[in-house]
Amino acid sequence: MTERRTYFSIAERYLNSAQNELARANPYLEVVAFKFYHSYECLASSLTVFFNRKVPKSHPKKLNTFLALAKKEPRPLNIHNVAYLNMLFENQRNKYLYPEIESTGNIKAPQNQIDRTKIDNIRTQVEGIHRNLRPII
């Protein structure tokens, strides 16, 4: 399997796993959110390799590279959507995994970072990016 197909396959496995968890009664939404994030990051990496670029190690650079490449032709993605998800995941990724000490001093657990409306919004957007990248990867 090529590198870009391998990244795409990882993305699909995490996407399927997130969808399966969501179909369960009382799903762990923070776990689902992280799976959608990892799926998204692997979709980003698959497009990066598609353009013969090396996948950066740092998360911000990985996401920035995805945005830069999403602006090039062929352009199967809505770049505003990519920009929004990059910012959202950069800000939220660690909060799906670890307690957050809020600026009020409160400790917020990962399961309190996300609700069903937010997860449905993330799901729609990540599934759209997967659907639009599939024909070219």
Binding site: P60, N64, L67, A83, Y84, N86, M87, E90, S103, T104
Partner: protein, 141 residues
């Protein structure tokens, strides 16, 4: 420290975005443009809960640093957010054009103003490295 004193301190420590004009800095027009858009309501993130928007883009001497090195910067949102649950999402939505143009990722960091005023000492170093993009009570331009 009272909230009023904290607000004065923030204004003293943070550098107005208009001062970026004196530097050779790749993104100065982007930051000035973003500030104008926020100030004049074109970037739809303003509610009365936001008091300041600051960007951590300066070095310890107050000079714009190379943002390409890290690929991101912190965007500090100071205000009284109460139970607002979509703050990060709303800010992200309003920053998409800026981010598409610069390709430098904003890391959004809300800080509650009451907590900041009580803990000002731990934020002073950070505030000195910020440029002020929005001040609810003062027109920057």
């Amino acid at each position: 420290m009272s909230l009023e004193t904290a607000i004065k301190t923030i204004r003293q420590l943070s550098v107005s975005v208009t001062e970026l004009r004196q530097y050779r800095f790749n993104y100065k027009n982007n930051f000035i443009g973003l500030s104008e858009n926020i100030q004049f309501g074109k970037a739809d993130l303003l509610t009365n809960s936001v008091r300041f928007i600051l960007a951590d883009i300066l070095d310890k001497d107050g000079i714009p640093r190379n943002l390409n090195y890290a690929g991101y910067f912190e965007l500090i949102i100071i205000g009284d957010f109460g139970n607002r649950v979509r703050l990060v999402e709303e800010v992200a939505e309003s920053l998409t054009n800026f981010y598409i143009d610069t390709e430098i990722l904003p890391r959004i960091r809300p800080i509650n103003e009451e907590y900041l005023s009580v803990n000002m000492e731990e934020y002073e170093k950070l505030l000195k490295k910020t440029t002020k993009l929005y001040d609810r009570e003062e027109n920057i331009f």
